[in-house]
Amino acid sequence: GSDDDNEGKAGSSGGSAPDKVTYITGFGTFGREAYAYVAQDKGYFSDAGVSVTIQPGQGSAISLAALAGGRAQFAPVDLSSTIMQVGGGKVSGVTAVAAVHQTTDAAVMALADSGISKPADLEGKKIADPAGSVIGALFPAYAKLAGFEADKVDFVNLEPQQLGVNLATGKVDAVGQYRVGRPNIENAVKGKEVVVLPFGKFLTESYGSAVTTTTKIAEKDPDLVRRFTSALLKGMRYAIDHPEEAAAVLAKKHPTVNEKAAAAEIELLGEAVQPKEEGAPIGTMDRERVAGAIKALADAGAVKSGLTPEQLVSFDLVPKS
């Protein structure tokens, strides 16, 4: 485990023993996840009296299961995902406490030479996307707003790790990807130009991922939640301001990381993280927008309507200016 990172840094808040928590990243150890490692490396967590173990994640479903099963206490989970799982009755007892992406980071990427340059070009094309992914779920809503027919697009199931290869070799015309994943895809297709069609352009209400915890923790120890999220978001702030350094921190911890791509991802991340409302802090969440995000998914048929924002977000714990 990565527990050893915490050694030698006594908890400072109140002098009591630090709270031990496990944090699961959104997916793996991409540059877009660097902020947690930065918070760890810079001692923001220990300053906040939290001893954090960071574990690379495997996607929303597994993160939610780990939260529900008590194996992890915090994880950034795509809010759309949470809406669908909670709305479908599969998951309960989890709540979002801070936004990571203010706008959904979902996107579709294609090679420039495939002739795809705008959303409508996707009609009649083959898009690869992992089974059950958020991108696939949001796609109908996106198509509706972007003005083309989702039914005319051919979706194929493909594991996340295979997206780049299959785009590069022309097996598929486009892939579902997070917007920040662009450097990674560019790396995979080796120099060819990549076209990005971000969903956020049309799905303006939808958040991307949000720091999620269990309702139990949110109710029993709101202080822990506040300390943790503020340290995490402090890491985020620092990472966005110092992409190269953040990438280096990540690469030091995980030598498999491509430092250049990671730095580029972090650059891209800043845009999505920045609150749209003037003066609002990173991580802010708005009740109306969450309601809008729910509605967008309900309209797309991805979830039954009737879900309230309070079932998903603990607004009292969300960072406020």
Partner: protein, 255 residues
């Protein structure tokens, strides 16, 4: 008569015990459905889309059987080559072992890029996952013929082919069947892993799809179907063994 009945009774009892323990565990430890659904949840999930699940099961079954058949063919071929020549053994068996230690999931991208999204990469995956036990048991069986039988073959000046066909192979059959029995469920694993990684058919797809949707109960229903099919295929193999190798039961002591 009672014996016959119990041949079916005991497995049912075993199944009942397993399901009972599972149901109890879910209740006692208050496990959330997303982590471990109860048997009732799984049944519900199955009854929600029985036709769909059975259809996907058939898709997967075809892959399992094809992959297994190819694995048997490949395993026989390689096993025979290894048994026939010390040089082949020395040259290639380390490579085989190394290859077998590769988690085949890691090879999925290659397969998809080469073979696309159809049935083929799944069949190949099933083959790759399950051929090694066949190779080892074939090679092992063929190289442990009792000396007296091989001496008999030599004394008759049997050619290599004849020695193989009439002496080594029949006497290796009991061991080969153990390999086949190990390979059979592995073929199921391979088929499903293949379906995990690409394509939108089969129980494997159902498992990832429902897993990503946190519909663990549906994933379990698919897995249960997979289990049922594998058990049926496994016992078909056991039956084949009994019919084809009557002398084995009578010259060895079962219990």
């Amino acid at each position: 008569m009672l014996r016959r009945v119990m041949e079916f009774g005991w497995p049912v009892l075993g199944l009942a015990a397993a399901i009972g323990t599972w149901a109890l565990a879910v209740v006692v430890f208050d496990v959330p459905e997303i982590v471990l659904p109860s048997p009732a949840d799984v049944l519900d999930a199955f009854l929600r889309v029985p036709g769909y699940l059975l259809g996907e099961a058939v898709t997967t079954l075809v892959v399992i059987v094809l992959g297994f058949a190819l694995a048997v063919a490949a395993g026989l071929l390689i096993g025979v080559a290894i048994a026939a020549s010390r040089i082949v053994e020395l040259m290639f068996s380390p490579l085989l072992v190394a290859f077998n230690a590769v988690p085949k999931v890691a090879l999925a991208p290659l397969l998809v890029v080469w073979m696309g999204f159809g049935q083929q990469p799944k069949v190949v995956m099933a083959l790759l996952v399950c051929f090694f036990p066949v190779v080892l048991s074939v090679a092992g069986g063929l190289t442990s013929t009792p000396v007296e039988l091989v001496e008999l073959a030599r004394s008759l000046r049997a050619s290599r082919t004849q020695t193989f066909l009439r002496f080594r192979f029949p006497s290796a059959l009991p061991q080969i069947f153990v390999g086949l029995k190990v390979a059979m469920p592995l073929s199921a694993v391979g088929a499903v892993i293949g379906e995990f990684s690409a394509g939108d058919e089969g129980l494997g797809f159902v498992v990832v799809q429902s897993g990503a949707n946190s519909d663990t109960a549906l994933a379990f229903a698919a897995i249960a179907l997979l289990g049922v099919m594998s058990v049926a295929l496994f016992y078909a193999l056991v039956l084949a063994e009994r019919t084809l190798l009557p002398w084995v039961r009578e010259t060895t002591s079962q219990r």
